[in-house]
């Protein structure tokens, strides 16, 4: 049973803007210098307002210096610029000067130091969108991939140039695609996808393009720029760099200001709100709210500048579903280790070089494992659904004026704590939406069933002891497995009816077929397969850790109680 997209999934979308000239991101890169200066000015202003006086500002800079020196010493990366030690040495000598100079001159010097640091950070973060590169990357992605696809699927020499199959056959776009396109025309979209694999960035880049949307800007981990292939793609797709090693206030504020201003200028943005890839394989439940907060801030600033502003920002949750996550074994090891009781050695990162990634892509496109991308309904920054015209609606479909959220005593006001509370609320709604639009695949459900059966069988063991059990203790009789799977599938259908989860069409087939489909797809390219049938037809596992990982995908739906 080969699941395929319905006709609707394969729709071709016209670009919503005529040409690159109109793309906000092109506008931004044209005035790059000016924009960076704006970021610097705003950041300096904000940090000055956060620090109560000169001495606390100096303290902040000292902290930054200390943390940066520690990072350079303990965690250097290849892409770090060579003049880093020199720069910070200069900061240090200026700080010494300041401490000897307690009068007016000192204060001025503090200002310069802060400005220097912010300037350095802003330049480091700023993306470098190149239209020509974007075009190349885009055609490589679509043209190259569809060549591969056709060569492998449609037999015959000439099929290399056939257009019979396109990427759309591989990647099923479902959900509110038209709605998203409409929102992108009338406002600024902030897309928030789940994050399971490093492939996500490329996949989302393709989705954005396939939907006819102009490029989105997004913060990509600086570590990814270590790898040439990713670096090339991301630079050209409008990525700005996020260095997770830098946790000092000045850096974080610069980063947030960059994002806020770009959104305010109408650049569609992309955040992975989980922060990093999900280590456990669970759908994110705790979101990093920092960048999400910048969307709220941009919206508030729009209203502050013009109370009648109709420039609205929309949040669009997106869930990516795979049968197979290349990094699963190392991710779950990370997860187990962080929980404190694991003592394996960690395998090297599977994405360590471009060759491996290419090899994976080749495998992926030639062997066929489907991916689905579910696009959720647009939200305003307070978690209300919006309609196609961008109006926020309450539960009774009454229109809400979102400006009212910022109003106290009749005026738009700034209240930091209130804003952060709103961002928390929005985070909770995004998590709910993730679970709601998540598409259950056969492979998710077989993994969940198998692991849960084993978990229940050894309920006297803690998780770690369970994971250390030898293979021969981990056999599940097929009949038992099928019964449980059947039960769970029915429960999933019930949840689906209540609108609490989505399902892939292939899940609805004949029970045995669906199980086989799941078994053959779950983690299909891992050297040690998480699930197999043995000669007797019973269910076995070669790698309980990755099985645990794939099982976690169905966490949070209250299905555990059936064991």
């Amino acid at each position: 049973m080969q699941p395929s997209g319905t006709k609707k999934d394969r729709k071709i979308y016209e670009p919503i803007l005529p040409g690159p000239k109109e793309w906000p991101v092109v506008q931004l890169s044209k005035h790059r210098k000016q924009f960076i200066q704006e970021v610097i000015d705003e950041t300096v202003k904000k940090i000055n307002s956060l620090a109560s006086d000169k001495s606390s500002l100096v303290e902040e800079i000292e902290q930054t210096l200390y943390k940066e020196k520690l990072r350079i010493k303990q965690n250097p990366w290849d892409i770090d610029p060579e003049d880093e030690p020199l720069f910070w040495a200069r900061v240090k000598s200026k700080l010494v000067q300041i401490s000897q100079n307690s009068n007016g001159e000192g204060a001025e010097l503090v200002g310069t130091v802060l400005n220097d640091i912010t300037q350095r950070y802003a330049n480091e973060i700023a993306g470098n969108f190149k239209q020509s590169r974007y075009k190349i990357a885009r055609s490589v992605a679509t043209f190259g991939f569809s060549r591969l696809l056709n060569a492998s699927r449609v037999k015959g020499f000439s099929s290399l140039w056939s257009n019979q199959l396109t990427l759309q056959d591989k990647i099923h776009l479902t959900g509110e695609a038209e709605h998203l396109r409409k929102l992108a025309k009338i406002g600024t979209v902030v897309m928030v996808p789940t994050h399971f694999s490093n492939l996500d960035s490329i996949l989302i880049g393709w989705v954005i393009q396939a939907l006819g949307l102009p490029p989105f800007i997004y913060g990509a981990g600086l570590n990814l720029f270590n790898i040439e292939l990713f670096s090339y793609f991301m630079d050209s797709l409008g990525a700005y760099k996020v260095d997770r090693r830098k946790k000092n206030l000045i850096y974080l504020e610069t980063l947030k200001t960059y994002s806020t201003l770009a959104i305010q200028k109408g650049c569609h943005s992309l955040f992975f709100p989980g922060g990093t890839r999900s280590r456990s394989g669970k759908i994110e439940t705790k979101l990093k709210l920092g960048l999400l907060g910048t969307a709220l801030e941009a919206q508030r600033l729009n209203f502050e500048e013009n109370p009648e502003s109709t420039n609205k920002i929309f949040i669009v949750p997106v869930v990516l579903n795979y049968h197979f996550v290349l990094e699963a074994p190392s991710l779950i090891n990370d997860y187990l280790k962080s929980k404190g009781q694991e003592r394996y050695y960690v395998e090297s990162d599977q994405y360590s070089n471009s060759y491996k990634i290419f090899a994976f892509l080749l495998k992926f496109f030639t062997k066929g494992s489907d991916i689905s991308v579910s696009i959720g309904r647009g939200l305003d920054l307070f978690g209300n659904y919006v309609d196609d015209e961008g109006n926020s609606l309450d539960k009774h479909n009454r229109t809400i004026d979102t400006k009212d959220y910022f109003i106290s005593n009749g005026k738009v006001t700034y209240d930091r704590q209130r804003d952060s509370e709103y961002t928390k609320m929005l985070g909770a709604v995004i998590v709910r939406e993730f679970h709601r639009i998540n598409r259950v695949f056969s492979s998710h459900l077989v993994a969940f069933t198998a692991f849960s059966v084993l978990r229940a069988k050894y309920d006297n063991l803690d998780l770690y002891s369970l994971l250390r059990l030898p293979e021969e203790d981990l056999i599940i009789p097929y009949k038992e497995f099928r019964e449980k799977f059947d039960l769970l599938r029915k429960e999933v259908f019930k949840l689906h009816k209540k609108g609490k989860v989505n399902i892939a069409p292939h899940l609805e087939g004949d029970l045995e077929d669906v199980i086989d489909h799941g078994l053959s797809n779950v983690g299909m390219y891992h050297s040690k397969r998480p699930l197999l049938k043995n000669k007797e037809g019973d269910i076995i596992t070669k790698d309980l850790n990755t099985l645990f990982y794939y099982h976690n995908r169905m966490d949070g739906y209250g299905l555990k109680k059936y064991f």
């Binding site: 309450d394 009212d404 709103y422």
Partner: protein
């Protein structure tokens, strides 16, 4: 004292004894619009300037028009019994906007069950999602997000007598707490802030169970040792339950927790206390309920919380025994006997 808030009056929904008392306190700092649903209550307020036996402050204006209240007041205090709370918010909801601030003063719970099941079913499994606190109802039924609650030792009759007291305003929003303080504070009324909204609401809700039990002890003619035992073990039980239902332990040892618990367990003025006391003297629950003017929230709460404790496996012997007394014909004496023999004697295990 003159109004510090030059712009708009403050609204109070519900002119029961507590609602009226709060309206009078608010009136010391601002103009107040007091909403009552019943025309007789409005008439009494207009003609005699009296509501629920309390003389109204001259700055209180009665109204029975919800739209008028919502459009004239940015800050509204809904103080209606929990059984009518959802309806009241539903009625108010069409006139509310996200700029409104709602601070409620209702110490009860609301349940919404799937069709064809009832709280009286023995085998009903009650989940947290089926049970809503008042702030959750406001969030469910309206667009208002800046929500807070009032809780603490605030016996309406003492407030009406202008005796000194204090309350807790709880909200996730600092803004709501600050507004609450600004509006309520005066020389005889102190206001504390707390960010654990759910915890503080649960304090007010759960203490009503213990208050009935305290009344029962008193009705049996028992003394202070027994009451102290009940209050401190009741406190522990509230903490177990509160934690399971989403509150922070800290709130329970504050003014809204132990403060309110001590007040309601000692005061013969409280409705819940009265219920317990009359039960101990042998009256039946139906008779007691029939003869009371305002609801004793503790009765309904006991029913709900018992089910929740069963489902979430929380140790709650006092709630369990009280449930038996209220709904399963156990005598107060037998319930006490059981509790005195209760085997688990760890004093404190939650800190």
């Amino acid at each position: 004292m003159d109004s510090k808030n030059t712009s708009k009056p403050v609204g109070v929904i519900g002119a029961g004894s507590f609602g009226t008392a709060i309206a009078n306190i608010l009136a010391e700092n601002s103009d107040v619009v007091l909403f009552a649903r019943k025309q007789e209550a409005i008439d009494e307020m207009h003609n005699l300037r009296i509501s629920n036996g309390q003389t109204l402050h001259h700055k209180v204006t009665p109204s029975n028009d919800l739209e008028y209240v919502a459009s004239n007041c940015d800050i509204i205090f809904p103080i209606v019994p929990s059984s009518n709370f959802r309806e009241a918010i539903k009625d108010l909801s069409p006139f509310l906007h996200p700029y409104h601030i709602l601070i409620h003063g209702t110490k009860g719970m609301d349940i919404s069950l799937p069709n064809n099941s009832s709280i009286e079913d023995d085998d009903l499994i009650l989940n947290r999602e089926n049970v809503r606190t008042m702030s959750e109802i406001i969030r469910d039924e309206s667009v208002v997000v800046r929500v807070g609650c009032l809780a603490g030792p605030n016996l309406a009759k003492e407030l009406a007598d202008n005796q000194p007291a204090a309350t807790v305003v709880a909200s996730h929003f600092d803004e709501v707490i600050e507004e609450g303080k600004r509006l309520l504070r005066n020389d005889r009324f102190q206001v504390y802030g707390n960010s654990d909204l759910i915890g503080v609401e649960l304090c007010g809700v759960l203490k009503n169970i213990i208050a009935i039990a305290s009344g029962a002890l008193s009705g049996m003619g028992l003394g202070e040792n027994a009451r102290a035992l009940l209050v401190s073990r009741g406190m522990v039980e509230m903490i177990y339950l509160g934690r399971a239902l989403g509150g922070n332990i800290e709130s329970f040892i504050g003014l809204a927790g132990v403060g309110d618990l001590v007040a309601t367990c000692s005061s013969t003025l409280s409705r819940n206390f009265t219920v317990g006391s009359r039960l101990a003297k042998g009256e039946k629950l139906e008779e007691i309920m029939r003869s009371m003017e305002e609801t004793a929230e503790g009765i309904n709460t006991t029913r709900i919380v018992k089910k929740l404790a069963d489902n979430y496996k929380v140790r709650a012997p006092i709630t369990q025994m009280l449930h038996k007394v209220l709904f399963e014909d156990l005598t107060v004496e037998d319930a006490l006997q059981y509790l005195m023999k209760y085997p688990l004697n760890v004093d404190i295990d939650f800190l």
